[in-house]
C-alpha cells in the first residue's frame, strides 16, 4: 500500500492513476473545444489555486499517509471476510463444488457480480452518509469543497474512509467467499492491469471529471443507467445535495428515487450551507469540526 502520495499516479487501483487522469484531460479538452465559454473558468488560476482546491491538495497528502498508518492496520480485510464466509458455509452446508460452468463463465459472472454489488453498497453507504445525521457530520468534509478538482475525491474524513474500507471488505469478502465456496480456485476476475475490467473502463471514461467543472452530460436515457460527471456535480450543489448518490451506475438512484438528470438542473453552486462553511475552511477543521459540530448539536 502506497505511503508516498505520488505512487497514486502509478497505481491502476487509484482514481488518479495517470492513465485515468490523462483520459479525463483528453475528454475535457474535447469538451472545452466544443464549449469555448467554459474555457475561462476551467483554465483559470482562480479555480486551481482556489483556497478550497489548495486545501484539497494538502489534505490529500495527509489522508493518503493517514490511511496507511492508521486506518489500514485496524481495518478487517476482504480476505479475512472471504475466509470467514467460506468457512461458515463449509461448516453449515458441507463441501460443495458447483460443476457445469466453464472457467470463463465463472470469471465473467464473478467480475460482474462484484462490480454490481460493490456499486450498490457504495450507493447505500453514500446515501446513509447523507441521511443519518451523525454520518452527515463527517461527510460534510467532502461536500464543503467550494470548487471541485480530481483531488476532492480524497477530501473525506478518516471516519468515512474507514466506513468505505469496511464496506469494501464486507462486500468483496462476501461475494468472494460465496464464489470460493461454490467454485474454489476456478474463480478469477476479468481485469485490466489488475483492476476489475468494468471499474477500469468506467474510470477510464472520465471518472475524474466527476470532481471538476467540466459539466458533461450523457443525455437523459443513458443517465438513467450511468452517472455522468454533470450528475455528480449536481450532487455537490447546495440545492441538490440529497440526489445522485450513485458511483458508476445510476440505476440505483433511479430505483430508489434519488435520480436527477442533468437536463433538469441549470445552475449549480458547490458546497454546504453558508453558516457551516466556516467550519471546514482550514486543514485542522476538516479533521476536528465533525466532532465539534456533533458535540455542539447535543
Amino acid at each position: 500500500m502506497a505511503i508516498n502520495p505520488l505512487e497514486y499516479l502509478i497505481d491502476p487501483h487509484r482514481r488518479i492513476y495517470w492513465v485515468f487522469l490523462f483520459s479525463s484531460v483528453v475528454i475535457a479538452a474535447v469538451f472545452l473545444w466544443f464549449n469555448p465559454k467554459k474555457r475561462r473558468l476551467n483554465l483559470s488560476k482562480k479555480l486551481w489555486l482556489h483556497p478550497s482546491a489548495l486545501l484539497d491538495y494538502g489534505y490529500f497528502i495527509f489522508i493518503s499517509v493517514f490511511k496507511v498508518l492508521v486506518i489500514l492496520p485496524v481495518l478487517i480485510g476482504a480476505k479475512e471476510v472471504a475466509l470467514w464466509v467460506n468457512d461458515f458455509l463449509l461448516t453449515q452446508y458441507g463441501f460443495v463444488r458447483i460443476e457445469g460452468f466453464s472457467y470463463s463463465q465463472v470469471m465473467v459472472s464473478f467480475t460482474l457480480i462484484l462490480f454490481v454489488l460493490s456499486d450498490l453498497s457504495r450507493y447505500w453507504l453514500h446515501r446513509f452518509l447523507h441521511t443519518v445525521p451523525w454520518l452527515w457530520a463527517f461527510h460534510k468534509v467532502h461536500h464543503s469543497a467550494k470548487v471541485l478538482t480530481p483531488l476532492t475525491f480524497y477530501r473525506v474524513h478518516p471516519i468515512e474512509s474507514l466506513l468505505f474500507g469496511l464496506r469494501y471488505s464486507f462486500v468483496i469478502g462476501l461475494v468472494s467467499g460465496v464464489f470460493i465456496y461454490g467454485f474454489g480456485a476456478m474463480i478469477g476476475i476479468v481485469d485490466i492491469l489488475g483492476v476489475n475490467a468494468l471499474a477500469f473502463v468506467f474510470s477510464f471514461v472520465g471518472s475524474n471529471l466527476r470532481h471538476s467543472h467540466i459539466g458533461i452530460s450523457f443525455g437523459a436515457i443513458i443517465e438513467h443507467f450511468l452517472i455522468s460527471p454533470k450528475q455528480h456535480q449536481i450532487h455537490h450543489s447546495k440545492q441538490h445535495i440529497n440526489v445522485n448518490f450513485g458511483g458508476f451506475l445510476a440505476i440505483w438512484d433511479w430505483f430508489f428515487n434519488s435520480l436527477v438528470l442533468s437536463r433538469d438542473v441549470n445552475r449549480v453552486k458547490f458546497g454546504i450551507k453558508y453558516s457551516e462553511m466556516k467550519y471546514f475552511s482550514r486543514f485542522h477543521q476538516l479533521i476536528f469540526s465533525p466532532f465539534f459540530l456533533l458535540f455542539k448539536s447535543k
Partner: protein, 321 residues
C-alpha cells in the same frame, strides 16, 4: 461474441506459470500406472488363490489408488469422466449396504455377470470385503473378486487413456491447470479432514462426539491410515516436490511463499503424525490431533487460493463520492 469474451478474459487476467508436463507425467500418469500394476497383481494373486498375498497387495492398491483419487482432475478436463472414481470407490458416495448384498450374491447361484450388476458391487470397497472377510478358495468368491479386479482395472485404464488424451489441454492452459489442481487439493483436504478423520474420531459436524471406528474408510482391512498417508503424500507430490515444477513453485511465483511454506509445514506435520499412527489411533488423541492438522492444511490451501485472487486484499479507491 462468446469467443471474444473468453479471449478478452484470458488476455486480461494475470498470467501464471502452472505445473508442467513433467508433473503430469511423473505424478498424475505415474500414479495411475502404479494403480494398474497393483490391480493386475491382485488379479493374478486371486487366480492363484493366494489369500494373504492378495490382502497384502490390496494395501498396495489402496496406497496407489488414493494418490490417483487425491489428485483426480480428469472430470475438469472432460466432464464425461466426472463420475469415474465413483465406479472404483464408493466411500462416502453411496449409502447402500453392499456387504449384505454381496453376502446374498455369494449365497445364491445366479450368473455373476447379472448378479454383480451394480457399479458398487465392483468397487475397491466390495473387493476389500471379499478379500478380508470371505474365503478366496471358494470358487464363487474368487470369481466375484476377479470380476471386481477386472472392473477396477478397466476404469483405471480408461482414466489413464483419458489423461493422456487431455494432457495437452492441461499443459497449454496454465491458469486453468493451476485452478483445477488447487481445487482438487482443497476438496481432497476437506474429504480427508471431515470424512476420513472427523467422522471416525467424532469431530465432524455430522458425528460430533460420536467416535466410531467402523466409519473409517478401510475399517475391514485396517488400511485406513495407509489411505490417509497416501493422500497426504499425493498432496506432497503436488506442492512440495524437489524435481519438477509443482503447485508450490507456482504459488511462490505469485508471491505466496509465506502461505505455501505454511501449507507445506502443515502437510509435513500431518504426514509425520500419520506415520506414527496405528489404525486404532484414529479414535484417540492422535486422531484428534491429526484432524486439527488437516484442518490447518485445508485452511492454508484456501489462503493460497485467496492469494491467487490478489485483488481482494486491496482496498480500492471507492470513497469520496
Amino acid at each position: 461474441m462468446k469467443k471474444v469474451i473468453i479471449l478478452t478474459a484470458l488476455l486480461f487476467t494475470f498470467c501464471a506459470n502452472a505445473v508442467d508436463k513433467v508433473f503430469f507425467e511423473q505424478v498424475i500418469i505415474d500414479n495411475v500406472e502404479r494403480s494398474i500394476v497393483s490391480i493386475k497383481q491382485i488379479n493374478a494373486s486371486i487366480k492363484q488363490g493366494q489369500s494373504k498375498k492378495s490382502q497384502a497387495l490390496f494395501a498396495q492398491l489402496v496406497r496407489h489408488w488414493k494418490k490417483v483419487e487425491a489428485t483426480y482432475m480428469l472430470g475438469d478436463l472432460n466432464e464425461d469422466f466426472l463420475d469415474t472414481p465413483r465406479y472404483i470407490d464408493i466411500f462416502h458416495g453411496n449409502n447402500e449396504d453392499i456387504k449384505a448384498q454381496l453376502d446374498l450374491i455369494i449365497s445364491t447361484s445366479d450368473d455373476l455377470s447379472y448378479a454383480l450388476y451394480k457399479h458398487s458391487h465392483k468397487t475397491i470397497n466390495a473387493l476389500e470385503y471379499l478379500l478380508f472377510t470371505q474365503d478366496l478358495s471358494n470358487a464363487r468368491v474368487s470369481a466375484m473378486a476377479l470380476i471386481m479386479a477386472k472392473s477396477i482395472e478397466r476404469y483405471l485404464q480408461e482414466i489413464k487413456s483419458a489423461y493422456q488424451a487431455h494432457q495437452a489441454k492441461f499443459v497449454q492452459d496454465e491458469q486453468f491447470a493451476s485452478a483445477i489442481l488447487l481445487n482438487t487439493l482443497v476438496s481432497s483436504a476437506y474429504a480427508l479432514k471431515e470424512w476420513r478423520i472427523g467422522d471416525v474420531v467424532g469431530l465432524s459436524k455430522k458425528y460430533k462426539d460420536h467416535a466410531d471406528a467402523q466409519r473409517a474408510e478401510y475399517a475391514i482391512s485396517q488400511n485406513s491410515t495407509v489411505a490417509i498417508l497416501s493422500i497426504l503424500q499425493a498432496h506432497k507430490q503436488a506442492i512440495d516436490a524437489p524435481n519438477y515444477k509443482d503447485f508450490g513453485d507456482v504459488a511462490r511465483k505469485f508471491g505466496a511463499s509465506k502461505e505455501i511454506n505454511k501449507t507445506t509445514d502443515y502437510l509435513n506435520q500431518a504426514i509425520a503424525q500419520v506415520e506414527k499412527m496405528q489404525e486404532q489411533d484414529l479414535l484417540n488423541a492422535k486422531g484428534k490431533s491429526l484432524y486439527q492438522s488437516t484442518d490447518r492444511l485445508m485452511n492454508s490451501y484456501y489462503l493460497s487460493l485467496m492469494n491467487k485472487l490478489g485483488f481482494i486484499s486491496k482496498v480500492l479507491d471507492a470513497d469520496g463520492d
